[in-house]
Symmetry: C2
Subunit: 342 residues, 2 copies
DNA sequence: GTGAAAGCGCTAACAT
DNA sequence: ATGTTAGCGCTTTCAC
């Protein structure tokens, strides 16, 4: 079962291969008569140009790589989906790479990417530094999601975690909280750094109480947050509200509160950060930030597509705002009776 | 900045391009002397064969498509990851396609896949029928995950949901439950059908009580399960235990129980089905089945790889067992005092 | 053991 | 407006 080639079509339509190619790629350049004959033949033979041969000539494969730390993570998956959909729209394939949140692996991908049949690459943050994207940016269109580095010809899309954290903090503040802690992970990505900056700025601006242990780092896991929350609850200056770095971690933190015989939000208010699927069903439903993951993926894809069209477009850095989603886990205004509000 | 080609290497090593190719692909066929010279030149020039040119000759692109209903779903993501890792191991790229759980979209992919620079395709179940994979199986290595259909030359990997459901049902039965209901989604995939079959077989074998409304279908969502659970709780013959089709849906069901002023597991036992991330932190932690998602992805990839090596290997159907994970949501033996066991 | 050359399927520059 | 042909980078006969 051999595939139909341009030659077969040429023979069938009694024209040269060049004419077939033209009829397909630049219809105006061929007389309506012949064109119709060619198109007819194409249809009859069910001809579809071989993308590999096209790629060999054009040096473009119409595929974009997306490198994520872990496709199993809901946020990464949403970004991937956003990118995929935008790319598919333009006839591009999405080639998936898992970095396992490992910088070696990312370095490795930078090595092989130029020979991996992709025209560009979207790098989604891992926690360990930044791979040498400058090296590949000459040959590939590159866009970074959620990293902040200074490189030429590399577009960037980031979420405004700094502002996001302050959205949460000020919300808690307005509710009457003045001892607000922040649980984060040990690995400080640039996104994490932005959260920390937001937190510190908030403390400075408000002049609120701040203890050494109010920023507390543990494993980036539910269990890590569980331990961190336990520590906070056991401390002398127990906070009245805690912002947890991710919703998944918040699940662990909520567990810790329960296991200590305390109640959220009555005894302590808790917020998450990234609106993980299911967080509206947590016990209690979690106040959190809505991340524009899907949009970030789309924007990254668009940036890539633009750079592919014109490699010299100015480097763009897009920072997207986060939206607060208020649910029961941070309760109501302190000092008011909220018993009827449940 | 032009790429280094085989010609450059040939010139540098003072041999013909044929010899370079041989030195790389069939080292034994060339004298050690020349081989070393070639390899040296390859190293110096940092040469890497162009995969597109290789593809054009060999008619193989070393890429496999994976078509999932929704990469955002944790189960799909895990399968994807399993497949990706196995494929990467063998130097294959993973090209991602989202079907949006839409049969039209799947049909469309079947149309374009033969011209999409992939050597094979892994189809992960959508709920609406089966796409015409037979048509593409001649040119592409195909493996289906979680569908059961009779086709030639198409490998299959499925989870044993029938046995899985019975694992849960018998467990509840042993705990003393005799009114066991099953909440599922409206769209009946073959996987869902297997669950239903398992449920019916269980009822038949045990001769347990069965009411018309003990199999209840709603939306495949948390909210759908919420409604379904509400209905069960309001019914005259209220079940003492409920198996919910997915963990995510179970989250909605647990909510419904709480909102009715009842307690899990004291008033009603609840189980999930697919060990979604976080289900150990649900309130209460959810008894569920561990799905071998990652393994399924890996096995599908392996099947593809095998078929690529030898297109005539016998069609294989692999059915993987599910493991039960017991947590608090189904409580302890009825009639015993479990108050100290918490 | 090595080189020359054909050819994979396509596009585009050059001829007519 | 259409045909002829070179060439993209590689592998693989076929000669020597």
């Amino acid at each position: 079962m051999k595939r139909t080639t341009i030659k077969d079509v040429a023979k069938e339509a009694k024209v040269s291969v060049a004419t077939v190619s033209r009829a397909l790629n630049d219809p105006e350049a061929v007389k309506k008569d012949t064109r119709d004959r060619v198109l007819e033949a194409v249809k009859n033979l069910n001809y579809d140009p071989d993308p590999i041969a096209q790629a060999l000539r054009s040096n473009s494969v119409k595929s974009i790589a997306i490198i994520v730390p872990n496709i199993t993570n809901a946020i990464m998956a949403e970004m991937t989906r956003g990118a995929h959909e935008k790319l598919a729209e333009k006839g591009y394939n999405t080639v998936l790479f898992n970095s396992d949140d490992n910088i070696q692996q990312e370095n490795h991908y930078c090595e092989i990417l130029p020979n991996s049949m992709v025209d560009g690459a979207i790098f989604v943050t891992g926690s360990g530094g930044t791979p040498p994207v400058e090296k590949i940016a000459d040959n590939l269109a590159v866009c970074l999601i959620n990293r902040e580095i200074e490189v030429e010809n590399v577009d960037q899309v980031t979420a405004d975690e700094k502002e996001g954290l302050q959205l949460l903090a000020y919300h808690l503040h307005r509710l009457g909280h003045d001892k607000i802690a922040f649980i984060t992970g040990l690995d400080i990505t640039s996104a994490t750094q932005r959260k920390i900056n937001g937190y510190k700025e908030f403390i400075n601006k408000t002049g609120l109480d701040y203890k050494e242990n109010y920023i507390i780092s543990g494993q980036w896991t539910m269990n890590g947050a569980y331990m961190a929350m336990k520590e906070l609850l056991g401390s002398k200056e127990r906070p009245t509200a805690v912002i947890v770095g991710t919703d998944t971690m918040a699940l662990g933190a909520l567990s810790a509160v329960r296991d200590s015989g305390l109640k959220v939000p009555e005894d302590i208010a808790v917020t998450g950060f990234d609106n993980a699927p299911g967080s509206e069903y947590y016990q209690p439903p979690l106040t959190t930030l809505k991340y524009p993951n899907y949009e970030m993926g789309q924007l990254a894809a668009r940036a890539i597509l633009n750079r592919l069209k014109d490699p010299n477009v100015d480097k763009k850095s897009i920072k997207l705002p986060l939206d607060i989603t208020v649910r029961k886990s941070c309760g109501y205004r302190l000092g008011f009776d909220s018993s009827n509000n449940r």
